[in-house]
């Protein structure tokens, strides 16, 4: 089955080479970071988590978002998602792999990472996050490969895989809930200290994950004979729309609580992110652009002519994905550190090397995704179009 990944068009190989190139640059930068220490990045004692952890947080969402196709297929027996379910599972594998790489890139002492297992600490949410992420990775590898293997052999998958498929559904919710718990259980960080953080994470995940999935499906439709079908596409658009609305509704709730209660701690970070605090406003253009992109995406998703046209729908999906990426992959983590506990403002700008490493992890994720999708689609097309 794996041999399917070794035969492809020149476009396929060019794409692989581009990814490998970015990975090479990132690996070079990582060696430098490893030798110098994390001072190689733009992080500081005040903003002690940067791009790595923010990408990690966002990607946990993308991984969890895959459940939006897995759940209807397995729980509601929604056969229309049959072709896309495997794509959702493989997207989860690639995303969790990226999450784990980002965590490793962020550790000051990466060689000691296994201390988390040697000294298991039940009161640490990071310990639980490690458990749920690796568990989710395993579940998706098992379910994805077993189902695909069966299809490849032309048999029906063995019955034992079903419990794993069902388990993966609540497990997907758990990965993003526990990831939210990393942040929302810290008494001194008001921006994160909100019970709605886990729901916010889930809403943005259920919009961003399927948006990326559908966007990839649209590309596949143009470049290969693989088509997920009109009905599945429309259903996904509906799911994405509801999740996106919920996401922006939750964001609005944060604004209300912050500004109506007038509590300084609740307003500071919102001020910093959307208006600037004491003259520091580096993230303001990003956050406002995120709102703009989100608004464009909602217009596309609500206008029948625009969402029925693959091109405009694609634009809408990209807008939504980047809106959510800025909101969670930048603002949420970086903003939470401003102002610092002593109410000084330190801004964070990632270093060039740090950005290269970040891009390289994304490239690795996309490489995993490309190989997995290549195999899956080759198998499916082979069986369906003799």
């Amino acid at each position: 089955m794996i041999e399917k990944a070794l035969k492809g068009s020149s476009l396929y190989w060019t794409w692989i080479c581009v990814l490998l190139g970015i990975m090479g640059i990132g690996a070079f930068c990582y060696v430098q970071q490893y030798n110098y220490g994390l001072g190689y990045t733009g992080m500081s004692r005040d903003v002690s988590w940067g791009l790595y952890i923010s990408q990690f947080t966002f990607l946990v969402g993308v991984a969890a978002g895959g459940v939006m196709v897995v759940l209807p297929y397995y729980i509601h027996d929604y056969k229309t998602f049959g072709r896309i379910t495997i794509l959702g599972e493989f997207l989860a594998i690639a995303s969790v792999a990226m999450c784990l790489m980002f965590i490793m890139a962020d550790l000051g002492q990466p060689l000691r990472a296994l201390n988390v297992l040697l000294h298991p600490t039940l009161n640490s949410m990071l310990f639980w996050d490690m458990i749920v992420l690796n568990g989710y990775l395993a579940l998706n590898i098992i379910v994805g490969t077993v189902v695909l293997q069966a299809e490849y052999k032309g048999t029906s998958p063995p019955a034992w895989y079903k419990p794993f498929a069902y388990l993966s559904i609540p497990w997907a919710i758990s990965i993003h809930t526990v990831t939210a718990f990393l942040y929302c259980g810290l008494p001194g960080r008001h921006f994160w200290l909100t019970a709605i953080l886990a729901p916010r994470f889930l809403a943005s995940a259920f919009a961003a994950g399927p948006a990326l999935l559908l966007f990839i499906a649209l590309i596949l439709k143009r470049t290969t004979k693989f088509d997920i079908g009109k009905e599945a596409q429309n259903k996904l658009v509906t799911i994405i729309t509801y999740a996106a609305i919920l996401n922006f509704f939750f964001l609005g709730l944060e604004f209300f609580v912050g500004y109506y209660s007038n509590l300084p701690g609740h307003m500071h970070t919102l001020d910093y992110l959307f208006w600037g605090l004491h003259g520091y406003d580096q993230l303001v253009p990003f956050m406002r652009f995120s709102l703009f992109l989100g608004a464009v995406a909602l217009v596309v998703l609500f206008t029948p002519q625009l969402k029925k046209n693959d091109k405009t729908l694609g634009v809408g999906l990209v807008c939504l994905f980047f809106a959510l990426w800025i909101d969670k992959g930048l603002g949420l983590v970086l903003g939470g550190f401003v102002p610092n506990p002593l109410e000084y403002v330190t801004e964070y700008t990632p270093s060039l090397g740090e950005m290269c490493i970040t891009l390289a992890v994304w490239a690795t994720g996309f490489l995993i995704l490309t190989l997995l999708y290549k195999i899956a689609i080759s198998v499916k097309l082979e069986k369906e179009l003799p």
């Binding site: 110098y36 220490g37 994390l38 001072g39 190689y40 992080m43 500081s44 004692r45 005040d46 002690s48 988590w49 965590i103 962020d106 550790l107 000051g108 002492q109 990466p110 000691r112 990472a113 201390n115 988390v116 040697l118 000294h119 600490t121 009161n123 640490s124 949410m125 990071l126 310990f127 490690m130 990393l182 942040y183 259980g185 810290l186 008494p187 001194g188 960080r189 939470g336 550190f337 610092n340 506990p341 002593l342 109410e343 000084y344 330190t346």
Partner: protein
Amino acid sequence: MDKKRRDFLKIAGLSAIAGVAAPTALNTLFKGEVIASDHGGGHGAEPQGQGHAKIEVPTGKRFGMVIDVNKFHRYEGLAEKCTNACHSIHNVPKFTDPKVELKWIWKEPYEHAFTEHSHYKKNDELHNMPFMVMCNHCDAAPCVRVCPTQATFKNKDGMVLMDFHRCIGCRFCMAACPYGSRSFNWSDPRGKDKDGKPLIAKENTKFPTRTRGVVEKCNFCAERIAVGQEPACVEACGATKAMIFGDLNDAHSEISQVLKKQYTIQRKPALGTKPSVFYII
């Protein structure tokens, strides 16, 4: 009344009783709080509980510190003397870039040390006072709660300590600390600065230097307490008595006597961390 409806009412009644009784039963089960309900009994108008978090129950030793800000204000240079004593004894490297600097104890103005207090219409003197800030060795330390490897832990004397060899450098503790008291070694602390000067001017061989990629902070001089010495900063203050260190749980200790007589404040008490560092202003 037909049977179904009567059954329903029975179940509803039972559930209501269970609903009322269950929390009490659970409390008794988990916390052994039987006496709590007896307390309010005789005094009808008394509030049923304190608005505050649970009262700290003394168990074993709990070391703490009282910092007299007036004295730091009176004796010029005392703040720097404390910082230098601490940093040289503990081999804290001197990075000049504030973004990556390491510090265990340092001075801050009032509005940054006490961010949740009002700064409106305070006397000028207050704003000029140096407030020594450091790890609060919280009784309910968020950093200890979040550490995935127990590299940061509370010892039996109530001191929050670091195991530099176990720390994986995830910096979760830095995100968790509400006081900004933790520092990370962003690069090799044993190295040299841009001008070729060693970052640790004179190494104290009795205390370990650290490696890059681990977190560190004030350790209440656990290594000195263990051999009967005072913390380095307290020693630096000497006869000024600007800092008083001792066991908060020992009613006869000097620190307990001072706390009994003087009005003191703690940093961010609303967070429930129960800091062990107190300030006289």
